[in-house]
């Protein structure tokens, strides 16, 4: 991202540029209802889906351009949707929605492959079965029984996750304050070697929470602007001019010391601003994805750490920050879309394993220097690993949106 110094003054910008979400009512799923005896099939009243093995059974068929169900209502309690794609080339996904929220879904139901199913526990009310691309995309699905407004497990898990993420951000900000203090001590003492080590140690705390920091549009450029981002006539401050002095020039001057003093103050301000912030689940999701955008747009190219070449340290920190945000959403996401969740987990595992091969305890920050030779040989491989992670990760925002 390219923070601009010319942004109009404002307080905390909408986190992660999330805008325009419509409010939706809290019609919720997930409250348990007594299930019927396992193994039995109960004829349902009023043409509702029959209950078998404790769940109402609804068959969804994708054929041609159509998406049809054998029953359009079910008794409250667990409902299993079994989806078969006979020959619908353009259809491969079925979602159960309540207003705009996705309660359960199956993807990759491709013509020629096996049937797939998902089970959700529903209380009385009207839901929508959505088959993206079908002649009729949305059809109502009615659940007969008591409605409730008690929060579902999923809502509770999401709320818990956002609180947990807030604590994580505060922890990173606090560590950042300490690490920048160490850097400042080395700079004020004129110790270039110690300053280099302290610089590499401080950067990850910022990079892990970068989307949060960037939401403060006035402060972020003061802390993290690269020289190319600075408007002519404006002073260049923050980490990177200090980086230039201690890594490229190799000399600490009065100007370096002044920059360091200002950085300490700006980071203190960042800590104040991030303390007590609350987050929406979709902000965590968008933040997780935008950290991977950061990796692809400025780390993989070696632009971020142009003097120290510790881009891989930032790279790893971005991925760690992304993984943390994902982990806080994971309990709820596992309920909403278990396949996608395990796919993302597997991709994080594979990216983490790849990044581990770049560890180098002798290098500042603990990772190999990202010099031109390494970039030439390894950038395509790193790009493809990050793209493989970001593709599924970008899908979670709409699934956890609470609107």
């Amino acid at each position: 991202m390219t923070p601009s110094r010319t942004s109009p003054a404002r307080s905390r910008a909408t986190l992660f540029a999330l805008t325009g979400l419509a409010a939706a009512s809290m019609l919720l799923a997930g409250c348990s209802s007594p299930a019927s005896t396992a193994g039995s099939t109960t004829a349902a009243a009023d043409g509702a889906a029959p209950v078998s093995n404790g769940a109402a059974q609804v068959k969804v068929t994708l054929t041609g351009n159509d998406c049809t169900t054998d029953y359009s209502s079910a008794p409250s309690g667990p409902v299993t949707f079994e989806i078969t794609n006979t020959d619908a080339a353009g259809l491969s996904e079925v979602e159960l929605m309540s207003d705009k929220r996705i309660l359960g879904e199956r993807e990759n139901i491709v013509a020629g492959l096996q049937a797939s199913s998902f089970t959700v526990t529903l209380t009385g009310g009207t839901y929508q079965l959505n088959c993206p691309g079908a002649t009729t995309e949305n059809s109502d699905f009615t659940v007969i029984g008591d409605a409730t407004t008690a929060p579902s497990d999923v809502q509770g898990q999401l709320a818990e996750g956002t609180v947990g993420y807030g604590t994580y951000v505060e922890g990173q900000a606090s560590n950042l304050v300490d690490a920048v203090a160490t850097l400042d001590a080395a700079v004020q003492a004129g110790d270039v070697t110690a300053a280099q080590a302290a610089y590499a140690a401080a950067r990850p705390f910022y990079e892990r929470i970068e989307p949060v920091a960037e939401s403060f549009a006035d402060l972020d450029p003061e802390i993290d602007a690269r020289v190319a981002d600075v408007e002519p006539g404006t002073e260049w401050t923050g980490f990177h001019p200090i980086e230039k002095d201690i890594f490229e020039t190799g000399a600490i001057t009065d100007s370096t010391k002044a920059l360091s003093t200002k950085l300490v103050a700006d980071i203190a301000q960042l800590q104040t601003l991030t303390t007590g912030l609350t987050y929406k689940p979709e902000e965590l999701a968008n933040g997780a994805s935008s950290l991977l955008e950061e990796v692809q747009s400025s780390k993989i190219t070696g632009e971020e750490e142009a003097y120290s070449h510790i881009d891989l340290v930032d790279f790893v920190a971005n991925v760690e920050g992304s993984e943390q945000a994902f982990e806080f959403l994971k309990p709820a996401l596992t309920t909403i879309d278990p396949d996608l969740t395990s796919s993302i987990s597997a991709e994080f595992t594979s990216v983490d394993a790849m990044l581990a091969t770049y560890k180098d305890s002798a290098a500042p920050g603990g990772y190999k220097l990202y010099d031109e030779a390494l970039r030439t040989s390894d950038a395509p491989k790193l790009t493809q690993a990050i793209q493989a992670l970001q593709a599924p990760l970008a899908q979670i925002s709409e699934k956890v949106a609470t609107a």
Binding site: G20, L21, A22, G64, N65, N85, T86, D87, A88, A89, G90, L91, S92, E93, K100, E107, N108, V110, A111, G112, L113, P132, G133, A134, T135, E137, E282, A285, N286, L340, S343, E347, Q384, Q387, A388, A391, P392, A394, Q395, S397, E398, A401
Partner: protein, 456 residues
């Protein structure tokens, strides 16, 4: 993977801007004419191979197939012929005995992409191939896969959108499997055709790692480059957790011909494809894998050989015309063999001049590649001109993306072993990229997918 495969863009259909005009053409342009109907006794030369049209009268090309929505496929004019529909609206049937994009009259544009399969899970590969198959059915009908503009604010668009409203543009997408797919990763080892092996090294090869190797190739051809690129880009996108892009070539002008097309020129300025395969007999004997092969799943399939050939066009452009004629064994404007006067005259390799030397030099390209001098071997060439800007030493980076189809890669190997050693053209070309792929037969109907038999 979420939405990549979700929705066809139904708005396009509803507002009349749909890219599907509801009619599909036969897999290979049924024109109702045979190729003898438009050209007499023919002998045609070409860049590689020197295949000759069969003397037997060819039947109407193509097999009767079933269209996407089940209707019988109607014939339509071939590319370049006047007709009631424009190329933007024209479609080629995706389902059929053979894959489209082989016998299909070469469209004007190519995007060729080779993927590495990164998953080790056979079921993930299976899902990817099934998704691709369904998606290709949509794209070749002029439809999107997934919403360009989803209703939900936080939804990521399924389709990237750049082909919206453009029409199918005769798009064909052809898929092939490299030998590496049969190395045991996916339980396919027992299905490996004996004929499918990495190509041997040839004399004068100058292969570079960035244009060789890979597991699966996808050849997208269309009358519009953006439509072809859209298909490849979206297939790459939906495969992102399963396969990565390894190398690609974009071709901007066809450099081969089918029965009803005029012979195009390669970047050396010479006609290419004069003697290309056009007849049913030649397709049956030289291109399609028969039921007698060691792997039944390949019946109706073919083998694709890809060679990215860099042309040293600056030096070629300083060569005098007499030498250019001698290099090819043909004239430049007409494309006639040096022993004839018209493009389709049969070359006479025995004719000698006043000095006692052959009129067509023995090391001329056409002489080395002609089936008369290769035990009757022919290959179907379906290449495209390409440019990749400026190369690392300051030359124009351009040439021929050579693609050939044959029932056994040995056909290409035998020809190239000879050409690589002796062809006078080698002074002006470098083979920098290479691949060989088993191209399975066409899919029967929705629900069938590439490699289905290999997962059983």
């Amino acid at each position: 993977m979420a939405r990549e495969h979700e929705a066809r863009e139904h708005e396009a259909r509803e507002n009349g801007a749909g890219r599907d005009n509801g009619e599909a053409r036969e897999n290979g342009a049924a024109t109702g004419k045979d190729d003898q109907g438009t050209r007499g006794g023919i002998s045609r030369r070409a860049f590689f191979g020197g295949a000759v049209a069969s003397a037997a009268a060819g039947a109407a090309i193509g097999v009767t197939t079933t269209g996407l929505t089940g209707q019988a496929v109607a014939g339509a004019p071939a590319s370049g012929q006047p007709g009631s529909s424009t190329p933007a609206d024209e479609t080629y049937a995706f389902y059929g005995e053979h894959q489209a994009g082989i016998r299909t009259p070469p469209q004007d544009h190519l995007v060729f992409m080779v993927f590495d399969v990164t998953t080790t899970s056979a079921s993930e590969l299976q899902v990817m191939l099934a998704k691709w198959s369904a998606a290709i059915a949509q794209y070749t009908s002029g439809l999107a896969v997934g919403a360009v503009e989803p209703e939900r604010e936080l939804a990521v668009p399924g389709d990237t959108g750049e082909a919206e409203g453009m029409g199918a543009n005769q798009l064909t997408v052809t898929v092939g499997f490299a030998p590496s797919m049969f190395d045991g990763r996916f339980g396919w080892a027992k299905y490996k055709p004996a004929a499918l092996n990495d190509l041997p090294a040839f004399a004068s090869d100058a292969l570079t790692p960035q244009f060789t190797g890979g597991d699966i190739c996808v050849q997208a051809c269309a009358s519009d480059p953006q439509v072809a690129y859209h298909a490849i880009r979206n297939l790459a996108r939906m495969a992102r957790t399963t396969a990565t892009t390894r190398w690609t070539v974009q071709g901007f002008g066809r450099a081969s011909r089918s029965a009803d097309q005029a012979t195009p020129r390669n970047l050396m300025g010479f006609k290419d494809g004069t003697r290309n395969i056009v007849s049913d007999d030649d397709f049956a004997q030289q291109v399609w894998v028969g039921a007698d092969s060691d792997q039944q799943w390949m019946t109706g399939g073919s083998y694709l050989v890809a060679r990215k050939i860099h042309m040293l066009i600056e030096t070629w452009d300083t060569d005098y015309i007499g030498d250019q004629h001698a290099v090819f064994g043909r004239t430049k404007l007409e494309g006639a063999p040096l022993t004839g006067t018209a493009e389709f005259d049969t070359p006479d390799f025995a004719a000698t001049g006043a000095d006692g030397n052959p009129v067509i030099p023995a090391n001329a390209h056409v002489a080395l590649a002609a089936h008369e001098n290769n035990n009757g071997t022919k290959i179907l060439r379906r290449g495209y001109n390409f440019t990749d800007g400026i190369d690392s030493v300051g030359r124009l980076d351009a040439g021929l993306m050579f693609i050939s189809y044959q029932r056994d890669p040995q056909q290409f190997i035998a020809l190239q072993q000879k050409l690589g050693r002796m062809d006078r053209l080698n002074e002006y070309i470098r083979h920098v990229g290479s691949g060989v792929f088993a191209v399975p037969p066409g899919l029967s109907a929705a629900g069938d997918y590439f490699g289905k038999a290999l997962f059983e």
